[in-house]
């Protein structure tokens, strides 16, 4: 087994350094960092605890934004801003955990199917096809309805339905990579299948897996919101999708309470956008061939003389 001492730290440092040069990536990172910070610090940021029971009067229902309630109140007279802050926790936890599951399943299925091929590869790809042809949302609704809408059930359902795209992309890449000459050369110097897979194929598919995962994070968050919006969310925690559901079904639109819809909606967009920006930047940082500085110097490519040339008419 080949061990690497301290080089990963170096590698990470260079990736972080490169990310620094990518403005959109930094914006994405900052947006995602803010969302994660809000989610972690929710109890200190939110002015009210959404779980405490409160006494409400008719004026408290869909109250306009005010000093006491910066984003107004919802149909139950509760503070929308507090619910929004706590809702970030649910959306992010579901998004990240479900994508992690998708990435692990999709990445390993794709790598094994592509690299080993043969009967095992065929079996895995037929399985992928089956998962791919089933429409996700109806199946999700059915499964959640059957197993019950708890947070973990939702995470698992989203995770085990979202890996097919990753698997297919990773497989096609692995298929072409294993025919490359450096794989033969690695075999010649004494590398076994596992080493080739880990050291030669995996680093080349990693950027693919990462960009895909980031896409899947946004998809997972959207799917969670969809399920919650359809009333299949975890009833004990209020996610952004759940907030939209309550606002939509309980007359927020007819009462003109835009604040109850805009906050969770923008929250979803915010996180999805940040993931996409960060993912693109990470892909560039991970792929050494995209790093070449000569690819980034279009303006400096043609060295112009400092003085304008005399015109010879």
């Amino acid at each position: 087994m080949i061990k690497r001492r301290g080089r990963w730290r170096e590698r990470w440092a260079s990736i972080v350094g490169l990310l620094g040069h990518n403005r959109m990536g930094l914006v994405g990172l900052a947006m995602l960092g803010l969302a994660i910070g809000v989610a972690i610090l929710a109890p200190w940021i939110a002015p009210y605890d959404p779980d405490t029971t409160i006494r409400v009067t008719i004026e408290d229902i869909y109250a306009k934004p005010s000093a006491a309630h910066p984003l107004g109140t919802d149909d139950g007279g509760k503070d929308v801003f507090s619910a929004f802050v706590y809702g970030a926790r649910v959306s992010l936890v579901v998004g990240f955990t479900a994508s992690l599951i998708s990435m692990l399943i999709g990445g390993s299925v794709g790598l094994i199917a592509g690299f080993y091929g043969g009967r095992l590869g065929n079996l895995l790809m037929r399985l992928t096809d089956i998962f791919l042809v089933i429409p996700d949302l109806p199946l999700m609704i059915v499964i959640v309805a059957m197993v019950g809408p708890s947070l973990w059930n939702i995470i698992i359902v989203i995770g085990i339905l979202g890996w097919t795209g990753t698997a297919r992309i990773v497989r096609s890449q692995a298929l072409s990579l294993k025919e490359r000459q450096f794989v033969l050369r690695a075999r010649a110097i004494g590398a076994g299948n596992f080493h080739i897979l880990r050291r030669h194929i995996f680093p080349l598919v990693l950027p693919l897996i990462i960009t895909n995962t980031v896409l899947v994070i946004s998809l997972s968050i959207l799917e969670e919101s969809t399920l919650s919006f359809l009333g299949l969310g975890d009833p004990t925690t209020l996610s952004w999708g759940g907030m939209l559901n309550f606002a939509f079904t309980r007359g927020a639109i007819s009462s003109g309470a835009w604040w109850a819809l805009v906050a969770p909606g923008l929250g979803i967009v915010w996180v999805v956008l940040s993931c996409t920006l960060l993912g693109n930047a990470l892909e560039e940082a991970f792929n050494p061939r995209l790093q070449s500085h000569h690819l980034q110097g279009e303006e400096r490519m043609i060295a112009r003389p400092a003085q304008p040339e005399a015109s010879d008419t």
Partner: protein, 333 residues
């Protein structure tokens, strides 16, 4: 190089046959190939594209693609039959005692790993270093040996030029101090200046390290420059094999003669280059007799029926052609 060594050769390949078994039939890529390689010797393996040169070499390393089958033969490396040992023993021998410079070094490096790491891997696999970090001094030394600054070990292959990549590939092949290095067209796709540099480097390293080199090429001028002996292959079989002077001064096989005729000769600038009409035989539909018969100008009836066997016509000069059979040499009867 004229006296014949009496001790057993370093590498003795006997009757090697490699076939590709595909849905379109069996391709007999190499058949009955025998040759010897002495210590410190450099052997040129010449032939047109698709005549089985690379296949024969990959057979020696047991690195054939999935459809490839070594159907017969022995390859004795210092007395050990490379085809008779199991895969784990083969893995220990590969690169440690017999290594390979791959065709087109552009593709022989993983693009997302540093050149140094990839060279170091060979050292780690063969127990010459405990991990990649420990291998670093040796990697730097290897790179310096081929004229690349050791500090460039942490660069990626795309930061190397074509010639540098080829030199790095040579450094990689030498990592474990092998006895035999197979160079599979090491100068293809390089310009003539770089070609000359690479060949000079190979020759120097061979002399200094006492390597035995098999140089696979379709360029006879390369062979003339650095090889001691030449083996000409045609359609998967041996056509002619002898010391390098013999090939140029006294070519016997009609194919060798035509091959030489297709190369420019500086001493006869007025001489016309002649190509060989036709194509090498398709390896799944071989002619029954001599494989060169359909393109040979000196073909006679026997060539179309009977495949000629390699015979030692002069000391150390083997030819597989009916024209040079014992009977034919005394005038045909």
């Amino acid at each position: 190089m004229t006296e014949r060594p009496t001790n057993p050769p370093l590498l003795d390949v006997r009757n090697l046959s490699t076939h590709f078994v595909t849905s379109e039939g069996v391709f007999r890529a190499v058949e009955g190939l025998s040759f010897r390689l002495e210590r410190g010797e450099s052997l040129g393996l010449v032939g047109e594209s698709g005549c089985g040169k690379s296949t024969a070499m990959l057979s020696l390393l047991r690195l054939l693609p999935a459809a490839g089958r070594i159907v017969s033969g022995q390859a004795l490396l210092d007395g050990t039959d490379l085809f008779g040992i199991d895969e784990s023993d083969m893995r220990a021998i590969r690169w440690h005692r017999i290594s390979m410079i791959f065709q087109g070094a552009m593709n022989a490096f993983n693009p997302v790993r540093t050149v140094g790491d990839q060279i170091a891997e060979a050292l780690v696999f063969h127990g010459l270093a405990r991990d990649l970090g420990e291998a670093e001094p040796r990697v730097a030394e290897l790179l310096e040996m081929v004229g690349i600054s050791g500090s460039r070990r942490s660069q990626f292959p795309h930061q190397y030029s074509g010639g540098m990549r080829q030199r790095a590939m040579i450094a990689m092949a030498l990592a474990c101090n092998p006895q035999v290095v197979i160079a599979d067209e090491p100068t293809t796709a390089l310009d003539v200046m770089i070609q000359a540099q690479i060949l000079e480097l190979l020759e120097r390293l061979q002399r200094e390290l006492g390597l035995a080199v098999i140089l696979v090429t379709h360029d006879l001028s390369v062979v003339a420059e650095i090889c001691h002996r030449v083996l000409v292959m045609y359609g998967g079989v041996l056509a002619e094999s002898c010391e390098v002077d013999g090939i140029f001064n006294q070519p016997m096989h009609p194919y060798t003669r035509r091959l030489l005729g297709a190369f420019p000769d500086l001493s006869r600038p007025e001489g016309k280059l002649v190509s060989i009409p036709g194509y090498p035989p398709r390896l799944n539909a071989l002619p029954p007799g001599c494989r060169f018969a359909p393109r040979c100008t000196e073909v006679h009836e026997r060539c179309r029926q009977e495949q000629p066997k390699p015979r030692e016509v002069l000391p150390g000069h083997w030819v597989a052609c009916h024209l040079h059979d014992a009977g034919a040499a005394n005038g045909r009867t």
